[in-house]
Symmetry: D3
Subunit: 248 residues, 6 copies
Amino acid sequence: MSSTADLRADGRTPAQTRPVTIERGWSAQAEGSALISFGRTKVLCTASFTPGVPRWLTGRGTGWVTAEYSMLPRSTNERMQRESVKGRMGGRTHEISRLIGRSLRAVIDTKALGENTIVIDCDVLQADGGTRTASITGAYVALADAVEWARAQGHVPRSSRPLTDSVAAVSVGIVDGVPMSDLAYVEDSRAETDMNVVVTGSGEFVEVQGTAEGKPFSRAELDALLDIALVSTAELAELQRAALAEGR
Amino acid sequence: MSSTADLRADGRTPAQTRPVTIERGWSAQAEGSALISFGRTKVLCTASFTPGVPRWLTGRGTGWVTAEYSMLPRSTNERMQRESVKGRMGGRTHEISRLIGRSLRAVIDTKALGENTIVIDCDVLQADGGTRTASITGAYVALADAVEWARAQGHVPRSSRPLTDSVAAVSVGIVDGVPMSDLAYVEDSRAETDMNVVVTGSGEFVEVQGTAEGKPFSRAELDALLDIALVSTAELAELQRAALAEGR
Amino acid sequence: MSSTADLRADGRTPAQTRPVTIERGWSAQAEGSALISFGRTKVLCTASFTPGVPRWLTGRGTGWVTAEYSMLPRSTNERMQRESVKGRMGGRTHEISRLIGRSLRAVIDTKALGENTIVIDCDVLQADGGTRTASITGAYVALADAVEWARAQGHVPRSSRPLTDSVAAVSVGIVDGVPMSDLAYVEDSRAETDMNVVVTGSGEFVEVQGTAEGKPFSRAELDALLDIALVSTAELAELQRAALAEGR
Amino acid sequence: MSSTADLRADGRTPAQTRPVTIERGWSAQAEGSALISFGRTKVLCTASFTPGVPRWLTGRGTGWVTAEYSMLPRSTNERMQRESVKGRMGGRTHEISRLIGRSLRAVIDTKALGENTIVIDCDVLQADGGTRTASITGAYVALADAVEWARAQGHVPRSSRPLTDSVAAVSVGIVDGVPMSDLAYVEDSRAETDMNVVVTGSGEFVEVQGTAEGKPFSRAELDALLDIALVSTAELAELQRAALAEGR
Amino acid sequence: MSSTADLRADGRTPAQTRPVTIERGWSAQAEGSALISFGRTKVLCTASFTPGVPRWLTGRGTGWVTAEYSMLPRSTNERMQRESVKGRMGGRTHEISRLIGRSLRAVIDTKALGENTIVIDCDVLQADGGTRTASITGAYVALADAVEWARAQGHVPRSSRPLTDSVAAVSVGIVDGVPMSDLAYVEDSRAETDMNVVVTGSGEFVEVQGTAEGKPFSRAELDALLDIALVSTAELAELQRAALAEGR
Amino acid sequence: MSSTADLRADGRTPAQTRPVTIERGWSAQAEGSALISFGRTKVLCTASFTPGVPRWLTGRGTGWVTAEYSMLPRSTNERMQRESVKGRMGGRTHEISRLIGRSLRAVIDTKALGENTIVIDCDVLQADGGTRTASITGAYVALADAVEWARAQGHVPRSSRPLTDSVAAVSVGIVDGVPMSDLAYVEDSRAETDMNVVVTGSGEFVEVQGTAEGKPFSRAELDALLDIALVSTAELAELQRAALAEGR
């Protein structure tokens, strides 16, 4: 009803994501790249392919996919200090980098990738909530292009299919008692519960990270959030497919 | 049946935790402390109370609870390099410290705590799986004693009740297709899905962190893991109550 | 002649810059911003205004303008390691950040700015030569908008004119014996002499940094490079004026 | 006489150490370990054996023994910041780690050890004075067990005897003009002179580190301190022998 | 005229440098060394020769020359914090180290040097302006001796001539409208424009770094500064020749 | 006899120090300074006086004296990496800095110094053994001059006598079974036992740090080393007095 529509500053229904755009191949240099937007949130995702693996993996016949996440100092409302200036990465940065890496590795067959390395960089140019889930969703597109590039170049045999599925992510939460999808910053900062859900193209879970921001949440609330997340990630998977279907 | 009992190296049933002991007041110096064991996993938890809060919180009338987690270099099967020697904390350490802090803050009324700070240290003396969940479970006991100490000393008014509930945590996972509670290291390294669940004494969720280690997991598997986690955390809450009921 | 035109891979004449575009107000959050392109080189420049100055300047009645430069890890042909991961900023980064800051301070009357701080961030999204001079040229536009914002908001009196002139920069060099403007990466790596020249809107020098890459250079070569630089920076000043003349 | 006995808060005579206990094999994982207590001072010592030596020693046929010392943040009366959080080890930590390493190497025949490495970790769980000397005394027991383990496993030939002697240490000092053994924290902080003495099982010196805390000390005072230290270290050597005589 | 002579506190004419002394072979250990003074500015320059090159250069048949610059903490009027204590090198240090290295490499034929490395250290013992240009001038003498040492020892063939020219540097600037050479600290801090000029023995430019400290400078001013710099660097080249002509 | 004289490469008798020179007031800027040489070992010692004390000491009416020690990278036979480049100070550097600081504080009455700070810097220009003891001996002269400067300037009342005694240090050791004074590097590296002894002008001990390098040492050897150290430090105290007696 109209009462529900009024809940959100930008007029969205609870289960509706912001407008999502994926600008594939944004970088002229990276083997794969995508500039992804969820409303005002903008993340530049690049995938860098290099033959060979780190020393500790050499000789096992498996590849390596890892990710690094960072925010530009003025991607936020107030400028943050650069981590290179502070001389160390913060805990949040580490945590998100690890989450992105795990999410992508869930859809990679490292045997099929062979002894090759793909490093994903997700740099937040503008932040308005949901930067980690936008990063995962955009990174998948960059990764898919880097894998195709490697197959085209012969670094990975044509017969190999390193990607086993697609992967997308959304942030959901309970705001004023109502479960909602794709929280913008103003919603996120008021949420009682915040959950990041990473889901494959075939609808199975890769990560579920729910946190009580204000008060603990019940099993029923958890279930409602998962329902909404599955709807949104299915929509995102469709957008990824569309982006990858275009000629590069 | 016997077939299920055979699943676990130490003869436990799937939903059974390892023997848990809580040695309350282990430290002669800290305002609250507990040496907690889950089988061979041993964590020393201390709570350090200091009047006052960090500068950025001053004057708001609210307290601060934070946590730091660390592993002794030879708490593991192979010696790890010290983070003080490497000159920086790793991502995993940061991530777990933040999780412990959030979990404890979920049961603290920071207004009732007043402008006081409690720092929780969880140092893993021996690691055999489940160190982060053991840390949360032991830290609650140390925290409860530090709060009582502060009320006894008059730093917090007798009439204030900064603790709103208890909190405990368990690691659950799917091993060889079977959902199990309190994974030991050998089980954890074979788990297809690993989930850390933090639950209040009244049975509501504070954190749910599920990760597909091997292959993505279904909604049904997620549900089975949550069922088991609620049983185990209810048992742990009982042990915490018993430990705190004894004279210190 | 055609022989000269053949000198450059992209068909430019020696004194011609690449196509330059300035996307003013790119950031929805910063007080001033510009996405500047010199051909494939793209730099996002933001200006962050905050009332007050660092402690060591307090009470002197003067403002502070400083700059930080950084490259995204995959802005280059081969991925570079992040400085936040290495735990320290490299010498080149420091050097360029200082150059940008000095260049902008040359056209700021810090008394007229009052006790306010403006931090400029120049983040290279894609690098193809001339990133430091593109940064200075774009940063001036972001700075001008931040100063206007501060005057509109009343942080700086309407009667104050903190900007005393405009400033732009270009990289010039001698390639195969021919002085050329705005070197692209392939030209820069072959240059015998490389010079970065920073010039005000009124045509005076702020910085002249000439380096013999291959062999020492003569006074006549130095003069030829300065001639070309003055032509190009005059063109850039015109583009800055045009960008700032549009409604934001 | 009673007057002398009154000198010490816990009723000890000047030359008497606090009760010392050695819990050998405390760690289920390390090749050697001991939890040693001198009164309330408790240090967990582990010895980690690994075949091979650091690169700079390779091919010389000699082994390597080194040590690291650290204090848990709340081992002290007031919580200290973690060195991993500060991002660097302090001077005192470095100094004590080096002292422990030198002391143990004094009783190791590195040729007999072969190209193998033993790393000793001394982590102070509770501190009440004398943590560095307790560390050395406990570390010897852990080291002895790691050497035996290596001989049993065949990493070191049965015929080799890498340990040439035992080693123990005590802190002695002059308090209110009286030379005393094994200073507790309250005594140490009042001591005019503080001396750490490391002695082999056969009664020879490995290290003598005397420091005037308040006023310089005379040769006679130095001699009195050495006398007392030799008595206490002989007692400690006896306790080490007893601990190692038990079946592990 | 007398009016011009009055301009400078120490009675120098505008184009005159301070008394320059070069104490060659100051270090008993380094392969080349010089203690150079420009008035009260004193820099100890050493050249350390080692056979072989860094891994990234191996097998290319070319050598490597690099430089590090540092100031003793009390080389200045007020004590500065050590960079080793701060845990990182500042931007200015980085910038000067890179300048010295580039200047020396401009007169080295790295093919003729063969796969050998020379590291130049310039440590400022006392600072009174012009430390970077004194460093370059002294470093050349140390470098020349290290090259001769390597030829004498046979690390570089007798027939090779790795040095292609000499190199010297001077700081020039405009003070109260007058172009002056070799600014002392009191002059430098009042300069409107400051320029460091690095020139070969044959009078060609290696580096020209001009900075408007106060207000932008004109082409005519730039020309006047270059004129003066060429005179002074020719004098310095003569002093270098004289120093190297003496028996070591 | 001649047989003993033959023991030492430079013809010294066992108890003889190398030629020691103290160039007082070497620095034109520091409040006190000395360039001290023990043979080829050369250390530049400066004392920097500043009114006020670190925040943690404010309001107690006592001053603060601290020291920092460092070696130039090519003060040694083989070039060492700079600690500012490594990004951290090594354990040895920390240890020696702390030793110098403690030694000087032993002869300072911090009440008489008032709320003032003196920082001592000992920078080794050339190292040939005994750098830490040369540093202490030279630092005392720099400290004495800084104290006099402060009394002359009125920062410390004329009636106050912050220095209670002088302090000097020597390195002694057993080489080939013979106790010797002031070991040069070639002797130090062969020593079985090495001892640094810090002694006041009135002949009492401030620090005694003896280390068995090769094999443990007996009480008799310890006594012989102390005898020799007392002779040498008495000679050094005389040299300090002579240096300070000259007009500055």
